[in-house]
Amino acid sequence: MEDNSTTPMEMRLSEVPGMPSPEMELTYVTAIPMNGSTFTQSQEVRIGLNVPTDCFVDLKRAYLKFKLKNTGAGTCQLDPLIGGVSVIDNWRVIGGTGALLEEVIHYNAMYAAMNANKSVDTVSSIHSQTEGASTNPAVGLKINANPTDADIANTGLKALSTTNEFVVTHRPQSAFFNADRYMPLGFTQGLTYVSITLCQNETFGLISAEDAANASSFSVSEVELHLPILKPGPEFANMFRSAMSSGVPIQIHSVGIQNTQQSIPLDSSGEQTLTFSTRKRSVKSLMNVLRKNADITDKNRNSVSGFVNGGITEYNFSVGGMRIPAQRIKVNYSATTGTDKGELLSNQQLALGHYSSDLRGICSQTRTVGAKTGGVSTYLQDAENANTAIQSKCQFSLDLESYNAAFAGKNLAGQGLPLVFHCNSLATGAQDIGALLCDLYVIHDVVYVLDGMTGVITANS
């Protein structure tokens, strides 16, 4: 029975008038792909969100599950930070009328950057169990030489023998799946679907130096998206329909991530100026991730989470011609005069909203099992052009939010100039070996609007 207590927060959709606390029946729907059953590199997996009429979806509690199979000739190791999620190259959500509701290009690298900013224990326990992350993920893998079996054992990478499978269970890091309200997909027109583009064979895992001759390949099958469905009683559903048909727009807020890319060429050092294209209205923060371009499609290297520093010694961003911050953020590597790990990490945590949180960590302190001392920091690595150089977990980020609230970010749409990343880099950075790819993730506000008259959802950002 419905009573007259307050409407739960998750059900307060914009201007819809206050409603009694509705009776809600919770069920689960397992959505499966509509366009095939077994998928290989570069293919698209299309999962329709089959939500019954007049129902809401609690997407914050949804999870994706799939079976990842090593179809290559030899053993392949999964990514140290995100395991089998590395196969998700791009993530899109398409509305029932074909409108793009969300697009995260290089989703796997974004998720790896997020996991890099979790504690070692979190990654080596829950992410290892659910996604196949390594058991000692703070250990850095080599970036200028193929990691050997010994390196891999030291890192505790999840190994998949040929034809073996691993079941990946993953909670989507997606704006659409992290909205502040239940998504009324049972009231919309058409079928909303998730579109996942898989990565290339060479990107999904790592083959050791000893097995370098083996080709890398994978397949994905038994894809399931588990959706908690909330079916309200008829009184609430009718009231919601009435509110929609009266023309009240239903608005749902979330935080999305846009990817835009640039390159740092081989052998370039000194002042670097990288321009990025973004026109988001409310940008909360910027997160810049550097990887060696060739390693992304190298089966013998850590492709997804092989982050490097590019020898960057200081950086800031230019937004509409204004430098932010005016004084550059320093990145000093010197072991004798001190490093700037703390400042770099503080800016990263500010950008991610983790600052001063004791619940968050950084996946960059190795452990020596059973020893009272030991363990080294792998956070900020110098001399990346050496043969023995290892990856870092650093991102070059900036917080732009004026206060912690929705729509309090920087407006980049009204500026006539693109976003520019300014940095100074050493000649000993990773670009001394090969060109770098810069993935800039723009973390921004997004509002999903459900037009009550047409039942069409659109994304505004």
């Binding site: 366009n35 095939g36 059953s37 077994t38 590199q41 570069s42 293919q43 698209e44 299309r46 190259d89 791009n90 899109r92 398409i94 009328t97 074909g98 409108a99 793009l100 697009e103 290009i105 290089h106 579109s195 583009t197 990565c199 290339q200 397949s219 727009p249 608005q251 807020h253 990817n259 835009t260 890319q261 640039q262 390159s263 321009t275 990025f276 294209s277 026109r279 209205r281 409310s282 371009n293 060739a294 992304i296 499609t297 729509f407 749409a413 006539g416 693109p418 090969g434 060109a435 790819l437 993935d439 506000d445 997004v446 509002v447 609007v449 069409v456 659109t458 994304a459 505004n460 950002s461």
Partner: protein, 191 residues
């Protein structure tokens, strides 16, 4: 309305790939964003989809190296093709005969016998019979291009190692507000 600013042309030289790979069967480019070069085309940056037509494809390929390949398929990774499908065999692990596809264009190898094929280069004819396909906005960073045979198998090294191709793409951005990623930004500011 078809306006001149809706059309873009992209000339791709396989030698210019972003890792300097000399085997052109599976290469990547960083296409960045159209907004960089055409800053007034903001609505194109926000477009979810575009139409792309393979107008021209030429490759220094040796007739001797062609064995059973009747067709070269140009496949694009990392981008979705909402309206393109292909058949695939049914098997114990595959229960669908129809599947979404990432083929941008197809090129006949036109082989006559072991030493001859009709034209010296593969797709330099004036007919341009590859028509528009709908794909996700092509100007979104890394673009992967693979050359496969008619079965979707990546071409062998004998056909592609130390070889180059040249490709011309015609790109058209339709003005369809319904498919625009950011329909009305005022919705955001009104909150």
């Amino acid at each position: 309305m078809k306006a001149i600013q809706n059309y873009y042309y992209l000339y791709i030289n396989s030698d210019d790939n972003n890792t300097g790979a000399t085997n052109c069967k599976n290469i990547n480019f960083n296409l960045d964003s159209v907004l960089m070069s055409a800053p007034n085309r903001q609505y194109i940056e926000n477009q979810a989809y575009c139409y792309v037509k393979l107008c021209y494809f030429a490759m220094d390929i040796s007739p001797d190296a062609i064995t059973t390949e009747t067709t070269i398929q140009v496949r694009v990774g990392g981008v979705n093709f909402p309206n393109t499908f292909e058949t695939q065999p049914l098997s114990t692990t595959n229960h669908y005969n129809l599947m979404s596809s990432n083929i941008l264009g197809v090129i006949p190898t036109k082989k006559v016998d072991s030493n001859h094929y009709y034209i010296d280069y593969l797709y330099a004819n004036p007919d341009y019979d590859n028509t528009y396909v709908v794909m996700g906005n092509i100007f979104k960073g890394q673009l992967n291009i693979q050359l496969t045979d008619q079965d979707g198998t990546v071409l062998g090294d004998t056909l592609t190692n130390n070889k180059s191709y040249n490709m011309k793409l015609e790109i058209y951005f339709p003005e369809n507000k319904e498919l625009d990623f950011e329909n009305d930004k005022n919705e955001l500011l009104s909150n």
